[in-house]
Symmetry: C2
Subunit: 436 residues, 2 copies
């Protein structure tokens, strides 16, 4: 019997139990903090030599020279040629759709002129150089390479640097092929906190970037937090989550498999279903029972469902929506007859999968929207990774003579109110001259 | 003699000296880290009681009850009535212009339908609740209240909570008046790390917010870094900076005053002028000499110019632009005859002030664009505070039956390539059904 928790929004202890389920704090203990701080210090002080040492120690292979740290672009092309045609085609199709969607996200410069001739606006520019961290080993996902790299290239980032650890020197062909089709400019076979430090500060071989994105283990996450400010970073991700809201008319096997698809990521992943049809919750529970033994990753799924999964009985649709807004899930499936009637009431979610045909898995790979999404309730204040994360804005102000005369009066009053007289006089110079 | 450094881009040690000038790392030492960690723990554990204790200890006044921590909205209105009419008018004009500019920044939802009926897009929503930190004491700037609060309200944030320490129980009328006109919903007389903790986690009196913005001292900055993830935060700001690029035809007194207006903020502020007209650099140096003794904050200005200021001789306009892109300044003045011919080549700057009439001070108060800008070269990857910082996006995906059939094939190949078979089967269910 798979023990997945059953909650009911009308239970007295409902909120307490839900909070318990959602609770997640990623803690880097002092040991991790100190290790990371030392690695960053070493990479800043010794550059490539430190990268070679750490690669030998953590990835168990010894680069003969610093040049060996780089994976040449030609090697990416080789991987592209080597993988089966079906995978090449799938990567190509996914890349094309992710690119087409990303094109809609590009932020454009804008400006307007006021009646007195003063111009105001914002100039939007891409980052010069971005760094993409790709995990090695079991969490090496080619789809993540596409999702992180393509928005950067669409934004116009001139140089995109990928780092990927190669434990025991082993390269992942599918990851390299994804880097090839996504347009990664340079790749380095380094990982861990040392790779993040190299991207942030640069070494003789690795050029310093302006922003580091991509998932990683606790050392990588801690290093990203530490270099934030020196470079930009994306969100530090928690475990992946899905919340399915269902009216009870979707095939329960489909919903069970959607819950599995989240739970199979790792033991901490979270799968929750909410419905006001209690019989349907029972049918999904039965599907879980029946299908679980057929799954390749049954043990991971069972652990995740037991530890962090739930079937929640709500009073009605409104109540289910309230649950969704409370959870602010990374992935939200609205498996409903008319999801478009409901979506406008969703206040917080990373991505919303609407209708019975839209399995989250379609979005994970190839629907177009990014699969790098805010986790752990951070959808309350943050957004999917997008082209906008690789662009930045500069405000534009060009005062006409008449505009300066008007503005300088207001600025002068406020500056003097704050005791900043150089501000006041700097403004007044322009006002007096313009008024002459 | 005011010793402001003179650099020349053709000098052999130019780059080294420039790097030395720009170097800035804000370091929270272990003692600050531990103090902040303890304050956050206490506020989480004891709520209002901890706020009352810390307020007594750090701000030297004792709230009789938790209710006294709140500054009622009526008190903000009283401040608005109390300040001189000229200040009320200036605040009103500044607020109107900041609001009008911000309206241009609102990000809108978008979606499109593909040929097979699949819908893709992004739904944009405001944050539910935002927290605004306003420093007390010497750095209490009403203009900062406007600049932080107005974009939040334009974004549609339902509840905006301001916190402001009141050392010795003293309220700053101009700050309260600015909060009134900017539409702050609730205000609390608390500050320091305890105020940040209260906003992030909530107490009996202070509601938890989704994002904390606004400047503060090292304790506030350290607390913001610590609660990042639980809530969103804006950038942690370094000292303020200006870079003026001038062709030599602006009144040197104006340029000197612009450099002063930055330097008067504090001893760490940075003022740099670059020009290819060496005589002009000498004339500005002479203006600095002559004007400095007339300044109210002469000592702060002199210290800042000596420690971190510079006059840089460039070869020509192109060289000056390269200097600007290298420095990636918070404020960039293009004091040139035709700044619009040049602005497209500026890759990194927080705000660009174009033409001889556009003193930075105009932008600081009332031109419209935000004065909360990326400092310390972070304009390489970040943007001025704006409406977009108080909005977030949810991706939208609604696959048609035909769309699901196509997408499920690609998703299945990639999911199996990554060993995630629940993903594959979840996609395949939809594909098979749609194909029937």
């Amino acid at each position: 019997m798979t023990e997945i928790q059953r909650l009911d929004t009308t239970d007295a202890d409902y909120r307490e139990r839900l909070d318990g389920l959602l609770a997640w704090e990623s803690v880097s203990d002092d040991r991790v903090q100190q290790t990371v701080a030392e690695i960053i210090r070493e990479v800043r002080a010794r550059g490539d030599a430190a990268l070679i040492d750490y690669t030998a120690r953590f990835d168990r292979w010894s680069p003969a020279a610093a040049a060996d740290l780089e994976i040449p672009r030609a090697r990416l092309a080789t991987a592209w040629e080597r993988i089966p045609a079906a995978q090449r085609e799938a990567l190509e199709q996914a890349a094309a759709r992710i690119r087409a969607y990303a094109e809609h996200q590009r932020v454009e410069s804008w400006s307007f002129e006021e009646a007195d001739g003063t111009l105001l606006g914002q100039q939007v520019t891409p980052l010069d150089r971005a760094g993409l961290y790709v995990p090695g080993g079991k969490a090496a996902y080619p789809s993540s390479v596409l999702m992180n790299a393509i928005p950067a290239k669409v934004a116009g980032v001139a140089e995109l640097i990928m780092v990927v650890p190669t434990p025991d020197g082993e390269l992942n062909e599918l990851v390299l092929a994804a880097a090839y089709v996504a347009g990664v400019d340079r790749a380095f076979a380094i990982g861990g906190a040392q790779a993040v430090a190299a991207l942030a500060y640069g070494t003789e071989s690795v050029p310093p970037v302006d922003k580091v994105v991509g998932p990683g283990n606790i050392y990588v996450a801690t290093a990203k937090r530490a270099v934030f400010g020196q470079v930009g970073i994306d969100m530090v991700a928690g475990p992946s989550e899905i919340l399915v809201v269902c009216d009870g008319h979707t095939d329960p096997d489909w919903i069970a498999m959607d819950l599995f698809s989240q739970a199979e990521h790792d033991e901490d992943a979270q799968s929750i279903l909410v419905s006001w049809d209690r019989d349907f919750l029972d049918r999904v529970a039965a599907s879980i029972e029946r299908l679980l033994p057929t799954m390749e990753r049954a043990e991971i799924i069972a652990t995740a469902l037991r530890a962090r999964g739930a079937l929640i009985a709500a009073r009605d649709l409104d109540d289910a929506i309230a649950v969704a807004n409370q959870i602010a899930p990374e992935h939200l499936e609205l498996s409903l007859a008319d999801p478009q009637a409901v979506v406008g009431r969703i206040r917080h979610a990373g991505a919303i999968f609407m209708g019975r045909y839209t399995a989250e898995a379609l979005g994970d790979y190839c629907a177009g929207p990014n699969h790098v999404l805010p986790t752990s309730r951070t959808a309350r204040f943050s957004s999917p990774l997008g082209v906008y994360d690789f662009q930045k804005r500069s405000s534009l102000i060009m005062a006409s003579a008449a505009g300066a005369a008007t503005l300088s009066r207001t600025a002068s009053v406020l500056a003097r109110g704050e005791g900043l007289t150089a501000h006041a006089r700097s403004a007044e110079y322009r006002g007096e001259d313009a008024a002459e």
